[in-house]
């Protein structure tokens, strides 16, 4: 009789413990959304003009490029890798695209074909760096750094001196036009988000990526084609970088190597702030959407608050550390690199 009571008590305790744990997990997974809500409320109170329709439009516009970049990096990070190649590659895409459409430097007028060629070039480059990583067994961090340096060089080389000004009408409409109050570029970003969502949750590829990030050895043993999956991730990254290069050229109106600067590290930050683990296997594209929103809101509000540009970076850094410290799981046995 007594034994039975004892056993049932253990069962009860176990149940409660599990409940507590799942509650904690749920709390952690909602933390980024909480942080976003907190920041929006905070900035609405302290920053003049933050909570307005025009600023909402601004925010949506500013969100577009970082969101696409972070969506590309999300899958790379889910595998536990990192990629820095966008720094040079996005600039390269923008530069050659500007030279192929109607521009100030030459008589080319390839229109959509030019855009397509530039995007395909980006996919080719990431495919090559993917192959170097997979077959050469070199860390993505170093490979992508070298590739970024090479592509930066080619970008500068392509226009030699003065960057080409884009005179194509399509680019002007893209940069200024909007539909239902939402800028065109934001539609592209949202479409990419939907595609990324489908890729992660509705295809086998998405599960494979998660499996590789969680434990590559196990994934290999149950028959996942590791190399092919990794290669596909790099193709997806190429598509995203290509689009980022295009969107950067649209926003700048020039094909300059600078399109790619200050793009990669904020994007990785967005991915992590959203709750995706840098060691791979946890998180996903929905987290990235929230993370990109957090970073964009911080940037936008700091400008509205009139914080000096020298200090902006530092304030942003402090907010990011605080946000990440709150939103990631804590524990004694947890290993964080």
């Amino acid at each position: 009789m007594e034994k039975q009571v004892h056993v049932s008590r253990i069962g009860e305790e176990f149940k409660q413990e599990m409940k507590k744990q799942s509650q904690r997990e749920r709390f952690i997974s909602w933390a980024p959304v909480g942080i976003l809500a907190f920041l929006v409320v905070l900035f609405s109170i302290i920053a003049q003009g933050f909570f307005s329709l025009t600023n909402l439009q601004n925010l949506l516009k500013q969100l577009a490029i970082p969101l696409v970049m972070s969506l590309g990096l999300t899958f790379v990070i889910l595998m536990g890798s990192t990629d820095l190649s966008a720094q040079g590659l996005a600039g390269f895409v923008g530069a050659i695209m500007a030279l192929m459409v109607v521009n100030s430097k030459n008589a080319n007028n390839m229109g959509f074909l030019g855009i397509l060629i530039a995007v395909v070039a980006a996919i080719l480059v990431t495919a090559i760096s993917g192959i170097i990583h997979i077959k050469g067994k070199l860390p993505t961090f170093m490979v992508s750094y070298a590739v970024s340096s090479i592509m930066q060089g080619f970008a500068v080389l392509s226009y030699k001196g003065e960057p080409a000004l884009i005179r194509d009408e399509f680019f002007t409409t893209m940069s200024q036009g909007s539909f239902l109050g939402i800028p065109y570029l934001t539609y592209i970003a949202l479409a990419m988000f939907v595609i990324a969502y489908v890729l992660q949750f509705k295809t086998r590829f998405g599960s494979y990526v998660m499996a590789i990030g969680d434990n590559e050895g196990i994934a290999k043993n149950i028959g996942v084609n590791i190399d092919l999956t990794k290669f596909k991730v790099f193709l997806w990254l190429g598509v995203c970088i290509g689009l980022v290069g295009f969107m950067g050229a649209v926003r700048l109106g020039r094909g300059e190597v600078g399109i790619g600067s200050n793009l990669v590290f904020p994007a990785i930050t967005s991915v992590v702030v959203g709750g995706t683990s840098l060691s791979g296997g946890k998180g996903g594209v929905v987290n990235t959407l929230v993370g990109a929103m957090i970073v964009t809101v911080i940037n936008n509000a700091l400008v509205l608050l009139g914080v000096s540009p020298y200090v902006q970076q530092a304030v942003q850094g402090m907010i990011i550390i605080a946000a990440v410290a709150i939103s990631i799981p804590h524990g004694k046995n947890l290993i964080v690199k």
Binding site: G136, L138, Y145, F154, V272, G317, A325, I328, I335
Partner: protein, 326 residues
């Protein structure tokens, strides 16, 4: 059974030494190529230049190597160096030679802050150091007013040692960097906490279970990285007699590349601090050599990237079939 094991051990040892030698071989090959293109590459004057250019890379790389050995990363070394260079220029004019210990202390503080943020808050080192990188960049801009500061001639006697060459070709600056390297290498090899850094990199949980001070080792590694970066910043300042608020930015990645070329693995647990010397040498030779040979400025970045890729490929560990590389 025993003998098979022995042979296997021996074979893997040979491979390890081979990987080490590869760095040396690639350095020699690249030097010979540059030398064939322009014989003055190995002239006394250029060697002095090369060693002087190499000094900041070397100190920053051997600090970074500590953090890489943990399997973590430090992205703040570049801006810590920039900030240190600016601080140095400002302080040399106001407090004289006290500037040296103050800036060194600043480096220790910056590194320890990274370590504490990473270990106590549980923030991944990538994000923690990325954020402190932004903080120190802002500090450097604020301190310099956003413009390069030049050192007033009154303070020149305090930095003239950087111009001194021992035996006519070895700069004192390089010897100072070498001393830092030897101390770092000694701590890593012969002290308990230095070895703990490496063991945290290969298996953190096991190290913790063994009762080692995991957090202490991590903070030490980050402290060394910050210290190395600050010394690098001092070198920048005394070399150019000026404090430029963006001087260190690209040296962050160069330091990481040098450490990786020296055989430190980014997943942690492998490599030696001393071999960073070869990695730093290789990086500097590539950069310096392109200038000496007269590579067109537009092509330099492309060739640098390609050579870096080739060097990393030659140095990488390719013999483990099941090796997981991220």
């Amino acid at each position: 059974m025993e003998s098979v094991k022995n042979i296997r051990n021996k074979a893997s040892m040979d491979r390890e030494t081979l990987t080490k030698i590869f760095s040396l071989i690639s350095t020699i090959v690249i030097s010979v190529v540059f030398c064939a293109m322009n014989p003055s590459f190995l002239g006394t004057k250029n060697i002095t230049n090369l060693l002087r250019d190499m000094s900041p890379v070397l100190v920053m790389a051997c600090g970074e190597a500590y953090v890489l050995m943990l399997g973590s990363i430090d992205l703040s070394t570049g801006t810590v160096a920039s900030c240190a260079a600016v601080m140095m220029t400002v302080l040399l004019q106001s407090v004289g030679a006290w500037a040296y210990p103050i800036v060194i202390l600043y480096g220790v503080f910056a590194g320890t802050m990274n370590g504490v943020l990473h270990t106590k808050l549980g923030v991944p080192s990538f994000i923690a150091t990325l954020s402190t990188q932004a903080i120190w960049q802002s500090a450097a801009y604020l301190l310099s007013g956003g413009q390069p500061l030049s050192l007033l001639p009154a303070a020149w006697p305090l930095v003239n040692w950087a111009k001194v060459n021992v035996l006519d070709c070895i700069p004192l600056l390089f010897l100072a960097a070498l001393v830092v390297l030897l101390i770092y290498s000694f701590v890593s090899r012969y002290t308990g906490i230095g070895r703990t850094v490496k063991s945290v990199g290969s298996n953190e949980r096991a190290t913790w279970l063994m009762g080692q001070n995991v957090h202490g080792a991590k903070i030490l590694a980050f402290m060394f990285s910050g210290l190395g970066a600050a010394i690098g910043g001092i070198f920048f300042a005394v070399k150019a007699k000026s404090g430029i608020p963006t001087v260190g930015v690209q040296y962050n990645m160069l330091g990481i590349a040098a450490a990786v070329l020296g055989g430190v693995q980014m997943t942690g647990g492998k490599g030696s601090i001393f071999m960073t010397l070869l990695g730093a040498l290789l990086i500097t030779i590539i950069q310096n050599g392109m200038n000496v040979v007269g590579v067109d400025g537009l092509w330099q970045q492309i060739i640098f990237g390609a050579l870096l890729l080739a060097a990393i490929f030659m140095n990488s560990d390719k013999d483990h079939k099941g090796l997981i590389v991220k």
